[in-house]
């Protein structure tokens, strides 16, 4: 293994980690800010100009609060729950292509930590593990509401994973590869996959709302009936980890959506300008982040618009509507490939 290779990757990992955590932290601020805007308020504006230091204030508050582990709780698993949540939330960023490549001193530095040839499956596997954090935390709290929240989270995630996987299968049928890097490259000189897979994208979008436990599918933590769901017993930074993991998940699923369906770092018609490769890469990365930020905004927009589903409606939507729809989508894609794509 090359030494410079290692250095490159380490720097890249550090940057990606910092950026994704930073965006997750600031998502909490913008969530509240946008919630205000949607409701004709102005949101938090006390900490710093426009309240820009609010996430830091929140973080300090969470860290300084008393650590409480309930008497009946399983202490090890109680701590393991939020840690696992955070871990799985951060793991996905490894396989996402954040840009094409930079040329520094004649060396090509790809802006992707690891172009695994089964990138999509990796993302999918990590997402399917995400539920353990919630389940373990909810069970270890030794609280009925937490347990109910955990069970809801588990059944919801399993149900929507199926539809999500089926909608990805249709995409993979078109791309012919499981590598996210290759899928993004394919979209650079062709249509974005959202044009070719509108139904698949819609299903994926709805499922990612369910997978990240965001409104209208935030039943695992719905405060009206379950107090706080799986994090009822949590306080201080352990609670912070759960909330933070939710925002990191939101960031990651926005990134996956924009990479798979919206061309990732590709900008339409940029090759016609004949720019320097480094410039193109930087513009591409910025475009990618623009797409991600749009999706994060979309997540928040939906949250402050649509009320929560009832649990049976959620299950009905998942099993009786989205799964048949995604199977139809697979069939349609097959016909499409057969007819147009010899």
């Amino acid at each position: 293994m090359d030494f410079t290779f290692l250095i490159d990757k380490t720097i890249l990992v550090a940057i990606i980690f910092a950026i994704s955590l930073g965006i997750a932290a600031y998502s909490t601020y913008f969530e509240r800010k946008f919630a205000g805007f949607f409701q004709d308020r102005i949101g938090p504006d006390r900490a710093g100009p426009f309240g820009i230091l609010q996430p830091i204030a929140d973080g300090v508050k969470l860290v300084m609060k008393e650590e409480i582990i309930p008497a009946g709780a399983n202490p090890f698993l109680f701590i393991a729950g939020p840690s696992l949540s955070m871990l799985t939330a951060c793991m996905t960023t490894a396989v996402l292509p954040w840009g094409s490549y930079l040329e520094i001193g004649g060396r090509k530095i790809p802006l992707q930590v690891a172009d695994v040839n089964i990138g999509i499956l990796y993302v999918f596997g990590v997402v399917s593990l995400g539920v353990y954090g919630l389940m373990i935390g909810g069970w270890a709290s030794n609280n009925k509401f937490s347990l109910l929240g955990a069970i809801r989270a588990a059944s919801q995630n399993i149900s929507y994973e199926i539809a999500m996987g089926l909608s990805i299968i249709a995409l993979v049928m078109m791309s012919g590869t499981l590598s996210i890097g290759t899928i993004v490259e394919q979209q650079q000189n062709s249509y974005w996959y959202v044009v070719l897979q509108p139904l698949g994208f819609l299903i994926f979008l709805i499922c990612s709302f369910a997978e990240t436990n965001r409104t209208p599918f935030d039943l695992p933590e719905c405060e009206a009936e379950l107090v706080g769901g799986y994090h009822t017993e949590y306080s201080s930074m352990k609670l912070g980890f759960y909330l933070f993991a939710e925002y990191t998940n939101m960031f990651v699923s926005s990134a996956v959506m924009s990479a798979l369906y919206f061309g990732g770092y590709s900008v339409p018609f940029i090759s016609a300008l004949h720019l320097d490769q480094n410039l193109v890469a930087i513009i591409g990365t910025l475009a990618f982040f623009g797409k991600i930020l749009f999706f994060i905004f979309f997540f928040m927009w939906v949250r402050w618009t649509i009320p929560r589903f009832r649990y049976d409606q959620l299950m009905k939507l998942g099993w009786q509507i989205l799964i048949p729809l995604s199977i139809i989508n697979i069939v349609l894609t097959g016909i499409f490939i057969l007819v147009f794509d010899k």
Partner: protein, 183 residues
Amino acid sequence: MKEFFYFLSFLAVLTSLMVVVAKNPVHSVLYLIMTFFAIAGHYILLNAQFLAVVHIIVYAGAIMVLFLFVIMFLNLNAETEPQKPLILKVAAGVAAGLLFLTLVAAFKGAENQVAVTGGDSQIGLIKNLGKVLFNDFLLPFEITSLLFLSAMIGAVMLAKKDTPEGPKSKDLKKEMLLEKEII
């Protein structure tokens, strides 16, 4: 690579022992998940990334979640565990010992075989795997899918409430009322 193999094997053996030893069933399930991860690591060492990831998605991501789900629902713990009679324990020990012996005997002949550690780096890729599955092993593959189908139908049949037949079922309203009372 070799150290990694030993580490993974140690982890796999340790965690699978803990599955049996752990008092709390939830801990058992969690140890089992760790075992699956260790085995997935072995797959990666054998250059079978696809198998590794599918192993994690299917076993750790779906099946074990359901296991955990059911065990959490039942809320089993050390106090509620029924005491089994001694003879059952002895029988279980003998049976497990016999299985162990058989396994040892089976692997004893394998020591002279050449270990395949990531010889061909392309063997685990999906393309090759798919080709093998759909050319050489088409029939077993399809039979497996039939097996899954029948299992699915069986599960649905088990989960469905059996509607009572005969003269009794005529009085449906009464039945429903009775059912409500029971619930």
